[in-house]
């Protein structure tokens, strides 16, 4: 009877995962979908603790340990998630993803220990061993990679590549495959040593895999590692014949892979291109830009305020600079002040603006910007022609016309926000330094473009004060 209840619980949980994920894909139902999946997860966890019977028919023991672990994890997780700044969301996701990967790897470590426990060495099923090793390797790579991605996003880890790194990485993959195959089929005399060597190589590989990839591509990497962890969880599902782990793991593995591809497509690059890291070199771009640089003109805060206050339609293009400066509230204040004067203010959101798709939307929504004021790229590009003033806040590559006209540019082919269609473009940046892709932006040198240097938050507050005085 108990087993049937557990089966039904697992089945219900699997359904909540699928429906929850489905609901997450629409703004109206997303929040409920998230809680639905969380409720399903809780049911699966409690059901496992009290109803699960192992292959020996016994219930799980060590309830005290389990609840202590759950309590500590819940407390730390809630605290971290509640206190993290909105701008640091992407690295938080990466951190939690790493925890899941580590969990999957630890399960494999313990289960491997059980296999060779003196007393029950009754001939290991090679496929069980394969599942354990797969969970170990994928979980470890995901853990180490996520930690590096986390470090990169908060600036603690710098991009690092050495010549022949891809050869080393491919060598590591071959080595891991060979080692795993030997462990499964070769019946080595000291499997523990080899197992731990495998663990270390997997961790090193995870680090080397993410290190050379540029900071701007981290969202893609996190999404990919997210699906890795899903697959690692599914390995656990195979190991225990546990269908809810299998469902959840594969669901995320598949969805995460597709999400990764969608993100790459938004940047008009292939996944392979991101992983090999063609950005970051920047050597080819420098020379061309110097030749075409030319002069740019600056605009003062009061002139900016004047131009915006007397415009009919203003479009704001937020980028990472806005997130770094925490300027989303100031931005919303300015929007309200302009709207009060009858100016039509909208936001044009590039799919990869900020550090993650949707990052800008989350930030702007945090400061109460209405959802329908945020235009996606296609809509925005239709609107620019009739826009009087475009204010670019700390965005660069996503408005670089080189993506359309310069086949030699590393971002050639990436869809961009065509801000140069508008009558006036005002670009706020901290300096003339190029953006993440490391290339100059011709937009800044066009006659209709004016530069407004300074920290986005400070500048916006100054403009706001001026607009109120107009």
């Amino acid at each position: 009877m108990e087993q049937q209840i557990l089966t039904i619980l697992y089945l219900a949980s699997s359904v909540t995962f699928i429906i929850g994920l489905k609901m997450l894909s629409s703004p109206a139902t997303a929040r409920r979908g998230n809680w639905l999946a969380a409720a399903g997860m809780t049911a699966a966890i409690l059901g496992t603790i009290f109803l699960y019977r192992g292959s020996d028919g016994n219930h799980l023991g060590n309830h005290l340990w389990i609840f202590a672990g759950l309590l500590i994890g819940t407390f730390m997780g809630t605290y971290a998630a509640k206190t993290v700044k909105m701008t640091a969301m992407p690295e938080m996701v990466s951190l939690f993803n790493g925890m899941g990967g580590a969990c999957a790897a630890l399960i494999s470590v313990v289960e491997f220990g059980h296999l060779h426990h003196p007393g029950d060495a009754t001939g290991t099923d090679p496929l069980v061993l394969t599942t354990i090793l797969l969970g170990l390797v994928i979980g470890s790579v995901s853990f180490a990679g996520s930690m590096v991605a986390w470090g990169k996003l908060n600036g603690r880890v710098k991009d690092f590549a050495f010549p022949g790194q891809h050869l080393v990485n491919n060598g590591a993959v071959l080595l891991m495959s060979g080692l795993a195959a030997y462990l499964v089929m070769g019946h080595p005399t000291d499997p523990y040593l080899l197992f731990h060597v495998l663990l270390v190589i997997a961790l090193v590989y995870g680090v080397l895999f993410v290190l050379p990839i540029g900071g701007a591509d981290m969202p893609v990497v996190i999404s990919l590692l997210n699906s890795f962890t899903g697959v690692a969880a599914a390995c656990g599902g195979f190991l225990y014949g546990n269908k809810v782990m299998l469902t959840g793991g594969i669901l995320v593995g598949a969805a995460g892979t597709l999400l990764t591809i969608l993100m790459c497509r938004a940047m008009n690059r292939s996944l392979l291109n991101v992983l090999i890291g063609s950005f970051g070199g920047g050597s080819s771009a420098g020379g061309a830009a110097a030749a075409t640089g030319g002069s740019y003109k600056e605009i003062s805060v009061s002139d900016t305020a004047m131009v915006m206050a007397y415009a009919n339609k203003v479009m704001i293009v937020p980028g990472y600079g806005l997130a770094v400066a925490q300027a989303q509230h100031a931005c919303h204040e300015l929007e309200k002040a302009l709207e009060a004067r009858g100016v039509d203010v909208r936001y044009a959101i590039h799919p990869v603006a900020g550090r993650m798709p949707g990052h800008m939307n989350v930030l702007l929504a945090e400061s109460d910007v209405a959802y329908d004021k945020l235009l996606e790229m296609e809509q925005a590009n239709e609107e620019f022609r009739t826009t009087d003033v475009v204010l670019v806040l700390g965005a660069n590559d996503v408005v670089n016309p080189a993506a359309k006209v310069d086949p030699a540019s590393p971002i050639y082919g990436m869809p961009i926000l065509e801000v140069e269609e508008a009558k006036t473009v005002i670009v706020n940046k901290r300096s003339m330094k190029p953006g993440y892709a490391g290339i100059e932006n011709q937009l800044f040198f066009q006659p209709k473009t004016s530069m407004l240097f300074g920290d986005a938050k400070k500048v916006l507050q100054d403009i706001l004060a001026e607009v109120r005085n107009v």
């Binding site: 995962f17 994920l21 894909s25 703004p27 997303a30 929040r31 998230n34 809680w35 999946a37 997860m41 966890i45 603790i49 699960y52 060590n62 340990w65 994890g73 730390m76 997780g77 809630t78 998630a81 509640k82 909105m86 938080m92 996701v93 951190l95 939690f96 993803n97 925890m99 899941g100 580590a102 999957a104 630890l106 313990v110 220990g113 059980h114 996190i222 962890t229 899903g230 969880a233 656990g236 225990y240 809810v244 782990m245 299998l246 959840g248 594969i250 669901l251 995320v252 593995g253 598949a254 969805a255 995460g256 999400l259 959101i349 993650m356 949707g358 939307n361 989350v362 929504a365 959802y371």
Partner: protein
Amino acid sequence: MESFIDWLGSHQDMLYVVLLMVFVGIEVIGRVPSVLHTPLMSGANAIHGVVIIGAIIVMGQASSDNIPALVLGFLAVVLGTLNVVGGFVVTDRMLEMFRKKK
């Protein structure tokens, strides 16, 4: 080779689950507006925290004299819980900001 065929036969229900979930996962995500990509990734991140079930099983089956298994299992439970709870709470915080207000 034979053991592999046997294994396929005895695990066919699991293999069907894998096959179907691959399609469900792709189908469910296919038509997501890009504004929801980050919360969606975060939500998916929380869902793969289901690996916690494995950690609980490991912990619950560790015999009380097997200190390494106890310690590693405990660590796995903590990390898995972090993934689940942190994942869902962070996702909720992101989505909280999308709610319509008047």
